[in-house]
Amino acid sequence: MTRYILKRLLQGIPLLFIISIILFVLMMNMGDPIATMGGRSVTRPSDRERLTRQLGLDQPVYLQYLYWLVGNDWTKVDLDGDGVAETPGTRRGALRGDFGTSLVNRGKPVTEIIAERLPNTLILMVAAEVLIILGSLLVGVYSALRQYSKADNILTALLFIGYSMPIFFIALISMYLFAVLFKRWGLPYLPTVGMFDPQVGKTAGQVLWHMVLPVMSISIISFAAYSRYIRSTMLEVMSQDYIRTAKSKGLSRREIIYVHALKNASLPIVTVVGLDLPLLLGGAVITERIFAWPGMGRLFLDHVSRSDLPVVMGILMLIAVAVVVFQIITDIVYAWLDPRIRYEG
């Protein structure tokens, strides 16, 4: 097992290299970061030239990538444009945890900018994931135990609709229903914008209250997909021989369902949960934009629009690492839960 984990980790490293190269090359063309560098007058050609040189944007792609990856403190760079590289570089490179500094927020380290926003996205993700897993287990099992009944048919149709919903449509409809219409009808209504009411301040209750709609919007698609999935694995498990054995030795229906069937039926879900992370993160971009939630998705959109390469690159690499790590964890957890699976080292 240890050998297997090591092997997977070693495979992940070249993968991350490939990802970083693809992204870096794509980002070379993202637009002119200097044009959007704040309101001050950087429009003079000489200033532009100086800034381009100072930010290292005049270097060829492979050199920029190299500096991004391993830093430039081992070499000297030409800052005053006289063709002689005399100033020692200061960047330490992504491999040593230095993702550079933001071009938009002058001089602020990328890691700091991301660290400010990361918790906001994480609480959305964790809440959504809990909701998805619990909800889909409930609905999936309920549906499977009543296969082809009226309730099952209605649920299946609803799940199909939920699965086909564009996230922004879910968000807009739920905002309209729970905020606009509820307000109109004099019911307690949910907030639609931001993380907390500035007049009340950032309290746990406020954040929870503001989280309801965004979490719902992120969750519905995956919830529908998982429910369908759990329904079908549950049906498969219920027709297995060991369930018949359990029935014939007189176990109660409750015990059969929750101990014998559910445990086996929920195994494949582990893989889906692990592999679904990219989808959830993608959903967060749209959701955070609609609900003005100050998370990573909005950070990404804001900095993409201003061509802030270091920040964008930092966010994307963080996501890539998270996805790779999650895949490895998924495999390990799966093997641990299901002793029938043995990975050869």
């Binding site: 693809i22 992204l23 794509l26 199909f160 699965y163 997909a225 990219p278 993608g282 609609i290 964008v312």
Partner: protein, 318 residues
């Protein structure tokens, strides 16, 4: 797939009580399975209606009407004159959903063509040749799969943005951004298909008929395109069908963020751009385009589900 009739013959010979009925071809069998799938039939019908709406509607309302602005009629609610109401600068939303639908559906279909071509080529090369080719292609596939599609789309939209001038097809001008969107959706969605095709090739190339083809000196290209590919068409068709839904969604997401197709060319997606600012005051602005996207995606998903059961009965929906 259709030319495998002998197999269908041998199937019927196993059931003596059915010897009276003429043997069915695989196509007929598939049609039988598809017909039983009520939701798929429903999806197909809705889809036909949606195409009629988008392309037939053009004969009722002209494109200049769809782009006609009347600032006196800003944000007017649905009425007899404007069934779906008007938008922020007084354009008729009904007419815009018709022309937007054309673009959205066309983007969905053409992006899938690109996606399928790239997916088949990558999957076929990796699966057929194996070894180093496989390792390199699959690493790239994995790398692309590891970044959520929406992030890739946004980065690529910036990469290609504003580089392609307006084009004119069949007397109508399309914003160059339409082509950009088609290409980037195609280039960010081929990975799953490539994996499916690769898996098919890996198992099919071990068959005796491939050995026979090779023994008679058939070229690699011939084996790939004439012998293996036709045998793996079922999962490709299913995946391409579902791909149309994903492409339409992808266009909607990226246009919703304002990075997609640029106005005045309407799409269902960019009609929603900024709609959340009018959440309360003009719900008709986002409701109708959103509903049309939902209907399209829903019916394509139903259709794809039915096709999967009909063409590829071994595989199961997840």
């Amino acid at each position: 797939m259709m030319d495998a009739t002998p197999q269908a013959d041998s199937l019927t010979s196993f059931a003596p009580d059915e010897l009276e009925t003429p043997p069915l071809t695989l196509g007929q069998l598939a049609w039988r399975r598809f017909r039983r799938h009520k939701m798929a039939i429903f999806g197909a019908i809705v889809l036909v209606l949606l195409f009629l709406y988008a392309f037939g509607g053009a004969f009722v309302l002209s494109e200049s009407y769809a782009n006609f602005t009347d600032t006196d009629l800003r944000l007017s609610p649905p009425s007899a004159a404007h069934l779906f109401g008007t938008d922020t600068i007084g354009r008729d939303i009904l007419a815009r959903t018709i022309y937007g639908g054309q673009i959205s559906l066309l983007i969905g279909l053409t992006a899938v063509v690109i996606e399928t071509l790239v997916g088949i080529v990558v999957g076929a090369l990796a699966g057929y040749y194996g070894g180093k080719v496989d390792a390199i292609l699959m690493r790239i596939t994995e790398a692309m799969l590891n970044i959520p599609e929406i992030f890739l789309l946004i980065v690529m939209a910036k990469f290609f943005g504003g580089k392609i001038p307006e084009v004119e097809v069949l007397g109508r001008a399309y914003s160059g951004s339409v082509i950009v969107i088609v290409v980037i959706i195609g280039l960010t969605s081929w990975m799953y298909l490539a994996r499916i095709v690769r898996a098919e090739f890996l198992s099919l190339k071990e068959n005796e008929f491939i050995l026979a083809a090779r023994a008679t000196g058939t070229s690699n290209a011939q084996i790939i395109f004439r012998h293996i590919l036709p045998n793996s068409i079922a999962p490709i068709v299913v995946s391409a069908t579902l791909g149309v839904a994903n492409a339409i969604l992808a266009e909607a997401y990226i246009s919703f963020l304002g990075l997609g197709v640029q106005p005045p060319t309407a799409t269902w997606g960019n009609m929603l751009d900024g709609a959340n600012n009018y959440l309360e005051s003009a719900p008709w602005m986002w409701f109708f385009p959103g509903l049309l996207i939902l209907l399209t995606v829903l019916s394509i998903n139903f259709l794809g589900d039915g096709l999967r059961d009909a063409l590829d009965p071994r595989s199961r929906a997840v």
